[in-house]
């Protein structure tokens, strides 16, 4: 097992490197740059022309301009202008990427351009919020979808099965932001019903609440966002659970279970269901990135300061260190969770041993 783990961990390195490189390139090739944004943002696009000197100071301050090695400078000095420009860009970015890589290896993700706070600190603030929200969503989605999928599989082609399918597809096809606004209008605005708060995570004066009330208050705030996130995933998970169940029910060992005279409940929920969960683990592995990503739209509408918002703002303001850190960290966590889901798979399915996997 440890050999397997080691091998898996080693294959992560090229993947991580690839992700960092692609992010770096996207970030650097994207039009717009943090310096001009910063200067323009100051007075609504109305600052005086900045001298090249001030711009250069800024670039250096942000680490967007480094000294090229003298040899390289000489080498590109007398090339024709476009070639020189390209080579300079290449040199600059290679060095900056290298510096960044070295820093990351020391777990130093740098400071955000926006507010000069350590990027890690910003992520540490946003990640728990997104995780809470998404874990709740996952929990509810699975708790509802899996039994629904199983029942729908058992009553295949029945009216209930078809009805459930159509209903889920309809749910799936409702655009998130639309549903979010409708929920807010009808359940929170007070124009119709006033059951839930209009976004945010806490009520005013939350700091002074006793612990249980704090939890209650938080949950109360999370009801609508979680509903908005969850309804769309029902269709997918239910259909998946239904089809794996259909697959499993046809297996010989389920027939054996029937032939043994086991009651229906035991056949379905012990013999069939247990096996149908195995592919679910793989699915879960591929859904995990969503757990970390957060949803820009939902966080925007419900005023939730999570990862989606952080990432979106980082992109809009060309906050390179934050963008790079978010992708790197979430890629790393995703790879780890993929690995974990593979390990969980091996535990759930006794047929798979790590040694065999290694050979495959």
């Amino acid at each position: 097992m440890s050999a397997y783990l080691l091998k898996r961990l080693l294959t992560m390195i090229p993947t991580l490197f690839g992700i960092m490189l692609i992010t770096f390139l996207i970030v650097r090739l994207a039009p717009g740059n943090p310096v001009s944004l910063k200067i323009q943002a100051a007075q609504g696009l109305k600052s005086t022309a900045l001298s090249q000197e001030v711009t250069d100071q800024m670039l250096k301050l942000y680490g967007l301009k480094v000294d090229l090695p003298a040899g390289y400078e000489n080498f590109i000095k007398d090339k024709p202008a476009p070639v020189r420009k390209a080579l300079e860009w290449l040199g600059q970015n290679t060095i900056q990427f290298k510096i960044w890589l070295v820093n990351v290896c020391q777990l130093n993700f740098g400071m955000s351009f926006k507010d000069h706070r350590p990027v890690l600190e910003k992520i540490r603030e946003a990640l728990p919020i997104t995780l809470t929200l998404n874990l709740l969503e996952f929990l509810i989605a699975y708790l509802i979808s899996i039994p629904l999928g199983v029942y729908s599989a058992l009553g295949r082609e029945s009216a209930v099965d078809k009805g459930v399918m159509v209903l889920l597809f309809i749910l799936y096809s409702l655009p998130t932001f639309w549903v979010a606004y409708l929920l807010l209008m009808y359940f929170a605005s007070g124009d119709h019903l006033n059951w839930f708060p209009l976004g945010g995570l806490h009520s005013e004066g939350y700091e002074t609440y006793p612990f249980l009330m704090k939890i209650g208050n938080l949950m109360w705030h999370l009801v609508l966002p979680v509903i908005t996130m969850v309804y769309g995933s029902f269709a997918f998970i239910t259909r998946f659970s239904r089809s794996t169940m259909l697959e499993v029910v046809k297996q010989d060992y389920v027939r054996t279970a029937w032939a043994k005279g086991l009651p229906r409940r035991q056949v379905i929920w012990k013999h069939a269901f247990r096996n149908s969960l195995i592919p679910q683990i793989t699915l879960l592995g591929t859904l995990l990135p969503a757990l970390l990503g957060g949803s820009v739209i939902i966080e925007q509408i419900f005023s939730i300061p999570g990862m989606g918002k952080l990432a979106f703002e980082a992109i809009s303001s060309r906050d390179y260190p934050t963008i790079m850190a978010i992708t790197t960290i979430s890629a790393f966590l995703t790879l780890i969770s993929l690995l974990l889901s593979d390990i969980a798979y091996a535990f759930a399915d006794p047929r798979i041993s790590f040694e065999e996997k290694q050979q495959a």
Partner: protein
């Protein structure tokens, strides 16, 4: 010799294109005597597995049992009044049960509507009474499965649940049917594993199926099937998926267990060698019908139906000259959706006459408990 199971006029249909239902098993009759081994032979797709599954009512949707009876002469938990064992005394039929009185010539094998009297194989008069398995409630049927009738399947590789240990899987049935505790069930499991000659059963019960070889798994299947001491064991090609050497061992084991536990067995196979080795009586099925039936010895010594003859000829002789072609039956089994009106074997039959195409030939008794459906006799 008393009957333990009697199947009457069983018809099982499956949907084919156009919403039509076509018979996969088309009105067959047979019975199983206590302590005997009944072999059912035929090519794949001839309906033998479906027949076996129908006895446990395990035919999967959308297949269905269209008509017929499967009379079981034994005690089923939860069925009252408890039916009596078939024997010298004539028991009252259970309530609401359309007993054999309905068929005046119940001791004969009935085929078609013509009801041509045919001789009874192993002529022992059938007792009255019996429980129609097809009329039991789901719950009652559940008690029959495993407890009264157990089944082992063709594929030991896939017929065991991969995620539970074999100990779990055996004791599960034991606990269910014999109402014993966990500990006791485990002991019974170990005992059963020992019986099927699995070495070191105390340790093996903690193994998962994938850790066992094919032969071992089939032994586990057998142990599981026998763990509740059923009256009837249905073995659906139990050796097909195994190596030849293992096959022999398993067959031997089954044979021994039958002798040991006084079980009645329905052995489904396409391998006539197996039949020769263990069976007392044989049914030859072709395309959903029984084309020939006879005591096992008779089938080998005097096969009558051209199909049976063809099957026997396809067995490779022990010493075959190089270059000599193996005998095969030409053509293929007819498509379920396009069954011919006459004898279903006609298209492939070397001795076909024109009349064969007109109608399904009736049974013809040819002596010594042998019946054949062929116009040539």
């Amino acid at each position: 010799m008393p009957k333990i199971l009697e199947v009457k006029n069983l018809r099982i249909t499956f949907p084919v294109n156009g919403g039509r239902f076509a018979p996969a098993v088309d009105g067959i009759n047979f019975h199983l005597n206590q302590g005997k081994v009944l072999g059912i032979v035929g090519e794949s797709g001839c309906g033998k597995t479906v027949t076996a599954l129908s006895l446990l009512r395990l035919i999967e949707e959308p297949g269905r049992i269209e008509e017929g009876q499967a009379l079981y002469y034994g005690t089923v938990e939860g069925v009252s009044p408890p039916p009596r064992r078939p024997g010298p005394q004539r028991p009252e039929p259970p309530e609401g049960y359309e007993g054999p009185e309905a068929t005046p010539v119940d001791h004969l094998m009935i085929e078609d509507l013509r009801r041509e009297p045919t001789a009874e194989i192993n002529s022992e008069k059938a007792p009255d009474g019996g429980i129609d398995l097809f009329k039991l409630s789901d719950e009652q049927m559940r008690h029959v499965r495993g407890n009264n009738i157990a089944m082992i399947f063709q594929e030991p590789m896939t017929s065991l649940n991969p995620v539970f240990t074999i100990g779990d899987q055996i004791s599960e049935a034991v606990r269910l049917h014999q109402k014993v505790g966990k500990k006791e069930a485990e002991e019974i499991s170990i005992e059963m594993l020992r019986k099927v000659r699995i070495p070191d059963p105390q340790k093996r019960i903690h193994d998962y199926p994938h850790q066992l070889s094919g032969g071992m798994r089939q032994r586990v299947m057998i142990a599981m099937a026998l763990s509740c001491k059923p009256d009837i064991l249905i073995a659906d090609e139990p050796t097909t998926a195994l190596d030849v050497t293992i096959q022999a061992q398993i067959l031997e084991l089954i044979q021994e267990l039958i002798d040991d536990m006084h079980m009645s067995v329905i052995l489904i196979t396409h391998d006539l060698g197996v039949v020769a080795q263990v069976c007392d009586d044989v049914l030859v099925m072709y395309s959903g019908m029984i084309v020939e039936r006879a005591p096992a010895k008779r089938i080998f010594s005097k096969p009558k139906h051209p199909y049976t003859i063809g099957l026997l000829d396809s067995i490779p002789p022990l010493f075959q000259d190089a270059g000599e072609l193996l005998h095969t039956i030409k053509g293929t089994v007819p498509d379920l959706s396009r069954l011919p009106a006459g004898c279903r074997f006609a298209a492939r039959c070397p001795r076909m006459v024109d009349a064969c195409k007109a109608r399904v030939p009736p049974y013809k008794y040819v002596g010594e408990g042998q019946e054949v459906r062929c116009l040539n006799y």
